[in-house]
């Protein structure tokens, strides 16, 4: 079951994607969600992906997470080329290297917060590291709420559970698609803080999609997508600069 995944690529980047395209449907009604995207993410970086609705952000995240396959192009995660992997290998890769945070939290309603956080380990049949669990609970401020079910938690708390869940396996890369999209702005800021914290404290590599310009203050790099292409890369920009770029794209 636990046959080790041998790196197949040669790149030292955590994420190394080249020439990604993704076409939905066929013929006249076909939609090109991605039209040739290449990105590299170095270990420990926090990369923000921005862009108008329908620009292909989610599609990109799904492909990077191995949830979807590109029409063309290649993706290497932690040195493994994933676009050609069989489902079983891909599942192992996901277990070992990828954490995913969803816009709608996707917690299991019958499990309490702690059980939800530990779920990836129990799926992998691994023993939880109690110290790491306590650390994550503390960091996410859920220590008191660990035995509550999702229905008894606020949206922000639920998303913090989801983040802790994605961190519990020490993933090589954490992918988050609009983690604040379903939260009010104050709670959203807290989540962004938490992600930044994780990147700093645990040297966690993160790629996240967001509409929130305040991400400018926490991201190492901002990739701006429009019509399935990267139209701009901002490094060390201020929130107002980000807002300006965004407004020109509509």
């Amino acid at each position: 079951m636990h046959d080790q995944l041998q790196p197949t690529g040669s790149n030292s980047n955590v994420v190394h994607a080249r020439g990604l395209t993704r076409r939905y449907g066929e013929g006249a009604t076909a939609v090109d969600a991605l039209r040739g995207i290449s990105i590299d993410v170095r270990s420990g970086q926090l990369v923000a992906v921005m862009g108008p609705s329908g620009s292909g952000k989610s599609t990109l995240m799904h492909i990077l997470a191995g949830l979807d396959k590109p029409t063309s192009g290649t993706v290497e995660i932690a040195g493994t080329e994933i676009t050609e992997l069989r489902d079983s290998k891909l599942t192992l890769l996901r277990r070992e290297h990828i954490g995913f945070v969803f816009q709608f939290f996707n917690l299991l309603p019958m499990l309490d917060a702690e059980e939800n956080i530990l779920l990836p380990l129990s799926i992998a049949g691994e023993r939880p590291d109690d110290g790491w669990l306590e650390e994550l609970l503390r960091k996410t401020g859920l220590t008191d709420r660990r035995s509550h079910r999702p229905a008894e938690l606020s949206g922000g708390e639920q998303q913090r559970v989801a983040i802790a869940r994605s961190l519990i396996t020490h993933p090589t890369i954490l992918l988050a698609d609009e983690p604040t999209g379903n939260l009010d702005s104050k709670t959203g800021s807290e989540i962004l803080e938490l992600l930044r914290d994780s990147a700093d404290a645990y040297h966690q590599t993160i790629v996240m999609v967001t509409h929130d310009a305040r991400v400018a203050s926490i991201a190492d790099r901002i990739l701006v997508l429009a019509d399935g292409m990267i139209v701009k890369e901002l490094i060390g920009s201020s929130a107002s600069e980000v807002l300006e770029v965004m407004s020109t794209l509509g």
Partner: protein, 854 residues
């Protein structure tokens, strides 16, 4: 991971419970059957081991044609001669030998009618003080019979029919009713109930006289002298015995008797298990459907698990684990429910006149093991497809609304697999029905598998049939139900696979019910036709239970009625010819005036020319054995006599059954060859025909024979069909179990659908639908589903009946339209009943919550 699966199950308790019910009922039927039949078997075994407990050896008569459980007629083995007792008593190894009579006699209640229901026997024994050590009966009150007018009866009869000590009671044995004074009340040790059987105990001389066995015995019980083993005793006795007697150790005798009854009980058991099987089969449809719906609803959850690193195999395992837990719980519940059901089944049989002995409830290990294994395996088998479906949930479904599962490889083939399955099913059935040279077992197997495959095939085809059918069947709903009706019609066709699978479960039960109903209707018309053809008498006399043979004294009494023109008795017994045992009948010359036989060879005067060696044979039997007028044949009787007969006539019996067997001899010959001859039927013609006055006259003549029943042609037809009617009703009751299972299937689907459409129902309420309209919506959908089941099941049942009819060379084809209409109405009512709970849940939805529901 296991914990996650179990927690998930706990979170869906109602759904799990609804799924489980489908299995609970089937398992309960299996376990109930075992408990009931084991209990009856144990009772019989207790009876027999009690009877022979103190006998080291038992001598009984031995039928020359072997023991067989064949149909009508006196199957009593020949009696033992009186001198045998003295010889046995003089053997050195014998300490004590005691002879007795064991026969059957009817007790007559205060109302002048025979006591005892249905086919339960009236047992009769003799009592001798010297044989007391062998006596299996215990005296509860009073004393053992000591004089010619004394009788002891069993406790159950005494209390049920209120006969206290000292009262007189009527007894019918060979001749007219005789009255005896009750001196004792007895019971069988260790058995709580002998079923419907009654017991009568007389002194030995009285019994010999009563049963026309003067100087003869039926059994000799022997106790060995000190130090003589039963085996040695038996070998000492054996040389003394004539061919018509046998000796066994008490233990062997008990085992043999138990074995003889267990054959019948095994058939009974298989018969009941078959209904458990049908219920489980239907249950497997319900489970498969419920699980697929649940899995469809959990797509997002399963996909999330996949994104968190769960493999397809883990998903498969978690679904199967869930099924395993449901199956185990359901099987355990079913197992114990079976204990109660056993009692219910027994009540059912008692009410249908089948009253068998009972002792303490037997809950065998086999019952537990088989019930659990069958329940769990069926659940797992049913879960396999939904579980495989679950593995196809792609991780991306976690983030994409309304992601649809990729179609399975099978589904991509369209309706070909369904077509292939149906073709295979029909092929299997044709093989079972028509290919020659197969054993009955493999025939039944082929037909059974074929039927299963047919159900599967039609169920596979059903999704394609559902949309058009639902449009038609939903027409009344759409017309009458307003907006709710039209929506219901649309909803029924919205998820064809789901509706089809729900309806298919009901289809199975309805197919079986229809099959049985159509076949029964066919048998009924055929029988009526044949009575109409044969019966030209004014009256018929049979036993009060319609099928037991009765002594010929009643026939003699009828002859003395003034105005009587013909009294013709049809005797019945067993015999052996051409290597197999068969029913033998006997007729007198008058038979042609009361039965219109169709002659192939011979004429109405042939019966008068049968004399001592003539035989009358049926056309089919004649051709099977290459017989024609003048052919010799030999018939061996149970007492060992071989009759050398010559065929004098060949008649063509009507297809619907004949009162004459394949072989008939003259009554005069019969009465010398068979001790204690009995009549199965007695036909009477009287001046003036069937009139109230004549009925009165004849009944008066029969007043001494409470076990005889006078009837006109119409009554005769009705009475003779009573067995069939009972059987039919019994089958309906037993099949209703699988229909109940399928109703739970409808309930499941509707409950899950309501749950799934919470948001949509909230929206409908928000735009102004009333609670009542919502409930109506669900009810209509339920009725449409039930009608779909009827539309598939009833024609299928008719087709199956046709095939079976052809196979039995009995191509009766009477479609009982009225009955089928009743089935359709029953399906509609079933649909309404199934909708009660789901409709109430749907009506109770809180609009606001429903809209916020995620």
């Amino acid at each position: 991971m296991i914990r996650v699966a179990l927690k998930g199950l706990l979170g869906r308790k109602l759904r799990a419970a609804l799924t489980a019910i489908a299995i609970v009922l089937g398992v309960a039927m299996v376990s109930g059957t075992y408990v009931l039949t084991d209990t009856i078997k144990a009772a019989f075994s207790t009876v027999f081991s009690t009877v022979y407990k103190h006998s080291d050896a038992v001598i009984t008569g031995k039928s020359a044609i072997g023991t067989d459980n064949g149909g009508g007629g006196n199957t009593q083995p020949p009696s033992l001669s009186g001198s045998l007792l003295t010889e046995v008593q003089h053997l050195p190894g014998v300490a004590l030998a005691s002879a007795g009579i064991s026969d059957s006699a009817r007790l007559i209640g205060h109302n002048g009618k025979v006591i005892g229901r249905g086919g339960a026997p009236g047992l009769a024994f003799s009592y001798t003080p010297s044989g007391q050590r062998f006596n299996p009966l215990t005296l509860i009150r009073g004393s053992w019979p000591a004089g010619p007018g004394d009788i002891a009866i069993d406790e159950a009869t005494a209390s049920r029919s209120s006969f206290p000590l000292g009262q007189t009671i009527g007894v019918v044995a060979r001749g007219p009713e005789q009255r005896f004074r009750i001196t004792g009340i007895v019971k069988f040790a260790n058995v709580s109930s002998l079923g419907g059987a009654t017991m009568a105990v007389f002194t030995l001389p009285t019994a010999q006289q009563l049963f026309h066995k003067n100087g003869q015995y039926d059994t000799i019980d022997v106790a060995a002298a000190h130090g003589v083993s039963p085996r040695r005793l038996v070998s000492e006795i054996r040389p003394l015995l004539p061919a018509s007697a046998q000796v066994k150790t008490g233990q062997q005798q008990a085992q043999q008797a138990t074995k003889d009854t267990s054959g019948f009980l095994t058939i009974f058991q298989d018969f009941l298990l078959a209904f458990g099987g049908v219920a489980l089969f239907v249950g497997s449809f319900v489970i498969a459907n419920t699980l697929s719906i649940t899995i469809a609803q959990r797509t997002r959850e399963l996909a999330t698990m996949r994104t968190l690193g769960a493999t397809g195999r883990q998903v498969l395992r978690s679904v199967l684990l869930e099924a395993f837990v449901i199956g185990s719980l359901a099987s355990v519940v079913g197992l114990f429910l079976g204990l109660a059901l056993a009692k219910g089944l027994n009540q059912l049989f008692v009410s249908f006149g089948i009253d068998l002995p009972q002792s303490g409830t037997v809950f065998a290990t086999r019952t537990i093991v088989v019930s659990l294994i069958v329940g769990i395996l069926i659940t797992l088998a049913a879960a396999l497809r939904p579980a495989l479906r679950a593995t196809r949930v792609p991780p991306i479904a976690a983030v994409r609304e309304g992601a649809v599962l990729p179609p399975s490889r099978l589904a991509r083939l369209g309706s070909y697999p369904a077509g292939v399955t149906i073709a295979l099913a029909i092929a299997l059935m044709l093989v079972g029905l028509f290919v020659g040279g197969l054993s009955t077992g493999s025939r039944l197997l082929a037909i059974g598998l074929g039927t299963l495959a047919l159900f599967l095939g039609v169920a596979m085809l059903a999704p394609t049939l559902v949309p058009p059918l639902a449009r038609v069947l939903g027409l009344p709903a759409a017309k009458l139900g307003g907006a709710a009706g039209s929506l219901a019609r649309g909803n029924a066709a919205r998820n064809p696979a789901r509706t089809a699978s729900t309806a298919s479960a009901l289809m199975i039960g309805l197919t079986m019910v229809t099959l049985v109903g159509v076949l029964a209707a066919g048998l009924r018309t055929r029988f009526q036709d044949s009575v109409n053809q044969l019966f030209v008498a004014n009256y018929a006399v049979t036993a009060t239970d319609n099928f037991s043979p009765i002594g010929i004294a009643a026939e003699q009494a009828l002859r003395r009625v003034p105005g009587v023109e013909v009294v013709s008795g049809v005797r019945a017994g067993r015999g052996r010819a051409f290597g197999s045992n068969m029913n033998v009948t006997a007729v007198d010359p008058g038979v042609t005036r009361v039965m219109a036989l169709k002659w192939q060879s011979g004429n109405p005067s042939t019966p008068a020319q049968l004399d001592g060696s003539g035989a009358l044979v049926s056309k089919d039997w004649a051709s099977a054995n290459h017989l024609h007028v003048g052919s010799p044949l030999s018939l061996q009787t149970p007492s060992g006599t071989v009759l050398h007969l010559t065929v004098r006539g060949v008649f063509d019996p009507p297809k619907g059954g004949s009162q004459l067997g394949d072989l008939s001899i003259s009554t005069t010959r019969f009465d010398t060859a068979y001790p204690n001859p009995q009549n199965l039927y007695t036909f009477v013609n009287i001046q003036g025909g069937a009139t109230p006055a004549n009925t009165g006259l004849l009944n008066m003549a029969l007043s001494g024979f409470p076990d005889a029943k006078l009837q006109t042609k119409t009554q005769f037809t009705h009475n003779q069909l009573q067995g069939l009617t009972l059987l039919l009703n019994l089958l309906y009751v037993l099949l209703s179990l699988s229909i109940v299972v399928s109703l739970f299937g409808i309930v499941n689907t509707l409950v899950l659908t309501v749950f799934e459409r919470t948001r949509e129902l909230g929206m409908l309420r928000a735009v102004g639908m009333t609670r009542r309209q919502i409930r109506r919506l669900i009810r209509h959908e339920s009725v449409i589903t039930a009608l779909l089941g009827a539309t598939l099941g009833i024609p299928l049942g008719v087709v199956l009946a046709l095939m079976v009819g052809v196979a039995l060379k009995y191509p009766v084809f009477t479609v009982p339209v009225g009955t089928l209409v009743v089935f359709v109405l029953a399906a509609v009512i079933a649909g309404l009943v199934a909708a009660i709970l789901p409709a109430r849940r749907a009506g109770r939805l809180n609009v606001l919550e429903a809209l916020q529901y995620e």
